[in-house]
Symmetry: C2
Subunit: 271 residues, 2 copies
DNA sequence: GCCGTTCTGTGGTCAGACCACTGGACCGGT
DNA sequence: ACCGGTCCAGTGGTCTGACCACAGAACGGC
């Protein structure tokens, strides 16, 4: 689907009477169940916090097996829209929730591991996203956002820090920065992309000769970015964060082409 | 998860010896299956195009029921990583695929319908994304990309066009524009966001007094954007597309605040 | 009034069966 | 030799019915 629409730009609005013989689509039971549930969400009959009917009841009402209902729920769960928990009334059953960043992160991490995206593309996208985050943060950051960022900076200063912890804190810093912009979508996308780079970055870190030097440099850059945001200078903040990310990646993946294939996930050696 | 890290910036890197008594996580069988499969993907043992073992075999090897295996597959399918099909050998079974934009689109549409994101945030994010798309397109567009865009422009000129078709073509135009930038991640995100706005936009279109006038204006703006890209002027292209999107949304959702709640999905009246 | 027990409803899991579909092997007629 | 149909094996898709573990609420003895 991603790379359809070749030269002729063929897309949804098919030319009349063209390919009327496209294959019929045989929906699976669980897909129909998903549709029904999404319908309820679309019409507003089901919103965040609501609880779905019990699986047994749903399966009876929709006239499908419980397995079909469960598969539908697994699908929605993977998209971060519902969450199931056992028990009795209050904590009961399957609730509609909002776990976008979780779901986005899982999705992106999976596809990064599948190397569906050239690493360079991911880096470019990340730069674009975080420039935007930085701009928004410079404009909208509240005092407690700055406090949060400051604390992370301080914790990163720990001289005995190991690579994995620094990586975690660095991630947390960029996440907190995104949250300072107060745009949910941009934040969630930023989190997802930084989070899905965590493993590859840590691995690359492990292969570095002098990681301490890089860490020291990143510390300084973080503080400069922070200052730009604290001053409310969107321009400077976005420029600095671009340089920061670009520089970090250059150091990690070397000046040479960032190995187009498999960034490889899995726990790296670390420290 | 989205809104953790309150003031104190608490995150993954928990302070040592703190909350060592956090609740144990009881994994469900299907989650373990997902993990195993992701493991195979992470190590590169499983890549795009490969076929998973048959459900029955997998369930036996992992010592879980087939239902658990199936739920795991549904989860991965929802993330656009695998696809199942019946049959015999060649088309057989569950394959690892790459349907990022599909999965991303579904996810985003769902959460837009859930109104997890204020509409204004989505618009801001879209502007940022498409600015980037336009910039990349101006730099990297090949001849066939331009041809594709041109054809869509022509088809949008049809004077007898109805709102729904125009909306589809408009979507296709923005998608083609994103694809012209040749950055897979940015493209997929752009597609997802434009696609998830389709229903709300169509609905807003239906409430318009003079939709023909808006369509006419959009046609002109599209051509101006196209020209900037064809000239390779990234600066102009990104400025124009921002003005284009901002203007369109202003017309659609009015100058007043864009109703923070439920953009509401579902098929709108159209034409 | 307190606290332990029982009850009830929920998701989690499993085993086993059957169906629908696909492609290939096979075999007959031409 | 070719073509066509039939059969077969293997796959996902679906269903049924059962049991388990858990969490809260109602109950009942102290």
């Amino acid at each position: 689907m991603t790379s359809m629409s070749v030269p002729d730009g063929t897309e949804l609005p098919e030319r009349p009477s063209a390919d009327a013989w496209r294959p019929v689509h045989r929906s699976r039971a669980y897909e129909l169940v998903v549709e029904r549930i999404e319908e309820q969400i679309a019409t507003g009959a089901l919103t965040v916090g609501d609880t779905l009917p019990a699986e047994r009841e749903l399966s009876e009402r929709l006239q499908v097996s419980r397995a079909a209902v469960r598969e539908a729920i697994r699908s929605l769960e993977a998209q971060g829209a519902v969450r199931s928990s056992v028990g009795s009334r209050p904590t009961a059953g399957t609730q509609v929730v909002a776990m976008t960043s979780d779901a986005l992160t899982r999705l992106l991490r999976l596809h990064v591991a599948l190397s569906n995206f050239p690493l360079a593309d991911v880096v470019e996208a990340r730069i674009m996203l975080e420039r935007s985050s930085a701009t928004l943060a410079a404009q909208n950051a509240a005092e407690r956002d700055l406090t949060s960022l400051r604390e992370l900076l301080d914790r990163m200063d720990d001289p005995t820090i190991d690579q994995a912890t620094f990586n975690d804190l660095d991630t947390a810093f960029h996440v907190a920065l995104a949250e300072s912009g107060h745009n949910r979508l941009v934040t969630d996308m930023t989190i997802a992309i930084r989070e899905s780079m965590k493993a590859p970055i840590l691995q690359a870190f492990g292969t570095l000769e002098d990681s301490a030097a890089l860490i020291e440099r990143l510390r300084g850059e973080h503080r400069e970015i922070f200052e730009a945001i604290a001053e409310g200078s969107a321009q400077r903040a976005s420029e600095r964060i671009e340089a920061h990310i670009r520089g970090a990646h250059a150091s990690l993946w070397g000046g040479d082409s960032p190995s187009d294939d498999a960034p490889q996930s899995g726990s790296a050696v670390a420290s």
